[in-house]
Every structure is written in structure tokens, then in C-alpha cells.
């Protein structure tokens, strides 16, 4: 039984590392910040999560397995928040999406809010 678990852990670790590599390739190759964020915040966290699941299976101690699961939960909770916050800050600071982007719904809301501000002044 142990050997089966070992093989499962090895496969999880390799697949997780591959997902992390794909995320890094996306971060390097995609054209603008928002597409890069799309690669980093999904594939990167999924790769690290797979490696931590492998660690939780491999650990003989229950406390260590729980800690690994806690780390996965924490990563899944915080990464979308930080990515959303960074994207909003970057858009507000004037970093526009790549020109091949099909739909930029933020532009409409920004124009609307800018119009409101002008009417107030």
C-alpha cells in the first residue's frame, strides 16, 4: 500500500511542478499585466496546491498533514483577493489592457464616474 501512495505523491509533485512551470511561462510570455495575472494567480496556486497535497499525503504526522491543508486553504483564500486588488490598482493607475483585448468593461464605468466627477465640479 505504501508504494502506491509513494507513486501517487510522486505524480502529484511532478504535475504540480509542471503547472507552476506553465504559470511561469505565462507570466513571461503573455502580452499585458491582466493576462499575466490570469496565468499567475490560477495556474501558480494550483501547482503549489498540488505539491502541498502531495506533502499532506506523504506526511506520517497528522499535525503536518493538517498544516499542509491549512496552507492550501490559506493560499486559495488570499490569492484571488490580492490579484483582484492589484488589477484594480493597476487599472486605476492607468495601465490599460493590451489592444487585442475584446471587451474592456472597466472603461465604461471609469468614463461614467469621470463624467459624474466633472458634473460635480
Amino acid at each position: 500500500m505504501t508504494e502506491l501512495w509513494n507513486i501517487l505523491v510522486g505524480l502529484l509533485v511532478i504535475i504540480g511542478a509542471l503547472f507552476t512551470l506553465f504559470a511561469a511561462m505565462g507570466v513571461l510570455r503573455f502580452p499585458d499585466l491582466y493576462t499575466r495575472m490570469h496565468a499567475a494567480s490560477k495556474a501558480g496556486v494550483f501547482g503549489s496546491g498540488l505539491i502541498l497535497i502531495g506533502l499532506a499525503i506523504h506526511a506520517t504526522d497528522v499535525a503536518m498533514a493538517l498544516r499542509a491543508i491549512l496552507a492550501i486553504l490559506f493560499l486559495i483564500l488570499t490569492t484571488p483577493i490580492s490579484a483582484h486588488l492589484l488589477a484594480k490598482a493597476a487599472y486605476g493607475a492607468g495601465y490599460r489592457p493590451w489592444k487585442g483585448t475584446a471587451c474592456d468593461e472597466m472603461a465604461l464605468t471609469q468614463e461614467r464616474s469621470a463624467g459624474k466627477k466633472k458634473s460635480k465640479i
Partner: protein, 111 residues
């Protein structure tokens, strides 16, 4: 069978360490190239995720799972730095706006 499985696990962790190192290098290239501040912040966030993966693989390979506490703390620090950098990027924009507005007001006052 047992020896083969243990050997496969060692081989898998070695391969995973190599792949993670390559991912780390690619992300560092984005930190150096990145045209703007948000790109660099995103790449640093990605570096934290890769470092957590490194800690996991090292924990499986050597049995030092005590480093997992460091991984949790690293995730917390990475989240907080990203939030702080996002606030910094936003505040820089507000300062630019403020300077533009004050410049406009000064231009109005002069004539």
C-alpha cells in the same frame, strides 16, 4: 516493488526541483524585464508561490516537514506585500491627480 516506488519518489522530487528552478528563473526574468511596477509585483507574488512549492518538495524529499510553518508564514507575507504594493500603486496615481489638479488651479489663478 517497495524499493522501486521509493526510487520513483526520489526521482520525481528531483525532477520537480529542476522544473521549479526553471520556473523560478523564468519568473525572475519577468521581474527584470517587467515594463511597469504592477508586472514586477505580480512576478514577486508568483515567486512566493514557487517558493512554497519548493518548501513542499524539500519536505517530501528530506522529511523536514517542519519547514511547512515557514511556508504558511511566507504565504502570509506575500499576501501582505501584494496588498501593500497595490495601495502604493493606487496612492501614486492619486498623487499624480493631485499634482494635475493643483497645476490646473495655479494656471487659472495666474491670469
Amino acid at each position: 516493488m517497495n524499493e522501486a516506488a521509493t526510487g520513483f519518489l526520489e526521482f520525481a522530487t528531483l525532477i520537480a526541483l529542476g522544473i521549479l528552478s526553471l520556473a523560478f528563473l523564468l519568473t525572475v526574468a519577468r521581474v527584470i524585464l517587467g515594463p511597469g511596477v504592477p508586472d514586477r509585483v505580480l512576478a514577486l507574488d508568483m515567486l512566493v508561490a514557487i517558493a512554497i512549492g519548493f518548501i513542499g518538495v524539500i519536505g517530501i524529499r528530506t522529511g523536514f516537514t517542519i519547514y511547512l510553518d515557514i511556508a504558511i508564514a511566507l504565504g502570509l507575507v506575500g499576501f501582505l506585500t501584494t496588498v501593500a504594493f497595490a495601495r502604493f500603486i493606487m496612492s501614486r496615481r492619486y498623487r499624480q491627480d493631485y499634482q494635475e489638479i493643483s497645476a490646473r488651479l495655479n494656471a487659472k489663478r495666474r491670469p
